[in-house]
Subunit: 384 residues, 2 copies
């Protein structure tokens, strides 16, 4: 506390660097005069800080604006944040496919790559497919592996803080896998592993259906349902990373699984066969009686799971995602039933990101990590 009155020179330099980086990142480019005005720092301080940032490769002198050059004899030098100074990866490791998104330090996506993988593939094969996808993506984009500053990954299951999958029944060999450690072998930067529904929640909040909602729930309405929640704009992981794992709810006093509910025969669907699910939805739309009954049963079940989440958390918004096809049919019944049972019914919207949600959220988590490192000043001051 007493230190606040004195001042630590290295902390002060870091604060000032961060202030300048913040200002530059919020605009295309700026002159020293503009930076001085926006930040409230003195001219010599700004000059020193900008010089340091140029040396660190994070700032560069921008090409002079032609318009300005024409109006004035000698335009002031302009500087810009070098978003290309580093790169980020967002990975999805799912039951049917692996996918990777590549972005610059502003989070602007500059490449994507996905590969199918068998749902029965062992962990080694799944990770090998992912490594191949990443290698192709980096090569195509012309980005060196050493330029990566952080990697995020989203995958089904309960993920511990260190990236170990505590429980993951959807993928073979996933429970107990040290996924963070395994991925780290391929990268020299930090790797962050997150539950897939959690990553999707972050993605919809970043650039999907929930950009205006800091209190939202994302429901992965698959056959193995899961959910992710943001509370006050922050991911709620739960004490042991298991928050939102509502898949077990139906076991309580209900013996039927979604695979049974959605079946139009006496045989349950395969738990991971989402094509079969899409087929049932399509048949229901075409008026097939058994398919409609199956979809009806499935929606009741989804309503029950979502209602439990809504009653527990009271979010502003529920975003439903997980399948490309047929899911829009669940919105109306979901709205109607939530209005009946919830004291304060939330808005309900369809995912805008679709199958890109998990990798996009993983990318955002990597970006958050880098921003914390580059721009974590207010927190650092408060903690002193």
């Amino acid at each position: 506390m007493a230190g606040l009155t004195g001042g630590d020179p290295s902390l002060l330099r870091r604060i000032n660097s961060t202030v300048v980086l913040h200002a530059l990142r919020a605009t295309d480019s700026a002159t020293l005069t503009e930076i001085t005005r926006v930040t409230g720092l003195s001219r010599p301080t700004v000059e020193g800080v900008v010089e340091g940032l140029i040396e660190a490769g994070l700032v560069v002198e921008a090409a002079a604006d032609e318009g300005t050059a024409r109006r004035q004899g000698r335009p002031a030098r302009r500087f810009r944040f070098r978003a290309e100074a580093g790169h980020l990866l967002g990975l999805e490791i799912g039951p049917h496919r692996v996918a990777a998104l590549l972005s610059d330090l502003d989070g602007r996506v500059i490449g994507a790559q996905a590969k199918d993988v068998g749902e029965g593939a062992p962990a080694d094969e799944r990770l090998e497919r992912l490594r191949t996808a990443v290698a192709e993506l980096l090569r195509r984009a012309g980005v060196a592996r050493g330029s990566l500053r952080a990697v995020g990954a989203g995958t089904p299951g309960i993920v511990e803080a260190d990236g170990t999958v505590r429980l993951g029944t959807a993928l073979p060999g996933w429970t107990g896998l040290g996924l963070g450690e395994r991925l780290s072998r391929s990268f020299r930067c930090p790797v962050l592993v997150e539950n897939d529904a959690n990553a999707a929640a972050v993605a919809e909040h970043w650039k999907g259906a929930a950009t205006g909602s800091d209190d939202m729930v994302f429901v992965l309405a698959g056959l193995s349902p899961g959910a992710g929640a943001l509370i006050g704009g922050r991911l709620h992981r739960g004490y042991g990373g298991a928050a939102g794992e509502i898949g077990a709810l139906h076991l309580l006093g209900r013996d039927v699984t979604p695979e049974t509910l959605l079946s139009t025969t006496d045989e349950p669907l395969h738990p991971l066969d989402e094509q079969a699910v899409a087929k049932v939805f399509a048949e229901a739309r075409e008026g097939d009686r058994r398919a409609r009954a199956a979809v009806e049963r499935f929606i009741q079940r989804l309503v029950h799971d979502v209602a439990a989440l809504v009653l527990a958390l009271d979010p502003e918004l529920v975003v439903v995602g997980g399948w490309a096809a047929g899911l829009d049919g669940v919105l109306e019944p979901l709205r109607r039933e939530l209005a009946r049972y919830c004291l304060r019914p939330p808005r309900v919207a369809l995912s805008l990101l679709g199958e890109a949600a998990v990798a996009t959220g993983a990318l955002r988590l990597a970006l958050d990590h880098v921003e914390e490192e580059l721009f974590a000043v207010e927190g650092a001051t408060a903690r002193r």
Copy 2:
């Protein structure tokens, strides 16, 4: 940001005052030398701050310790925080009773008062009973109304941020009641209104069964069940204050209410008749077959509600409260069933505060408010 380097004299005074108050509040009494050592402030600064705090009535010279006086000719003056410089009230407004707790500025309870009230009593009558209880409590404790610095109140229902009851079906005339405004007429200090289960969660975390758990759920296992949750030590109210209102969950695909489940006859129990509930629990303990079956049904229902909360939130600990009698019988089945259905089962404990939980939590919320005013420095610095 730039202000950090210069320094605002009034902010600095406030920071220094807070630092000294913090130090004094953590101990019985301290000399100026001790305060200087603990705070890192200079001797003249400490002298000035302590003088200001004495003028404000928050600090007083402590009586000299006799042991010290004997050892040294002239002992250094000692100072202490005046916890008696103000008082706080924690109120419970429930279906069957109103209750009030009185404390000093350290949160030490110095008096309590409760009054029965009919479950059918209109809002005016209920509030009048509460006013009487408060008046008697203050008179008995010899505390002037003007000494109150904050009042907390816990009550069933969804409570808005301004203290209005958005929905409260448990008490007649409660829905739409401007409870905060009504209570404010009796006090000149801030009044904070909170949902009863939320208040109980805060209480168990403060001095009950959850003192070590920042991620916990309190389940009010009454006939009208509700829950409160702390996430990272902070109350989770939800976007509209409706988080944890799990009472409606049974409506989803289940037509039975707890009143029906717990009945041993064809007639449901009265929704608020908790004596009838205690009787059923007692009969079940004595081996009555119908009572045992009723308790079994009720426990299954409770397990379902709690499982929904646990799957959504993943707390470290679930504290069950709400009745004095019979509730201990639900712990074992609850633990067993949660272990079956939850991917990461939480610990389960019985409320330690019993029927004092709601008023105790309301008192803690009042204390939080006062502490924020007296001691809110880190937040103030970070927000600058």
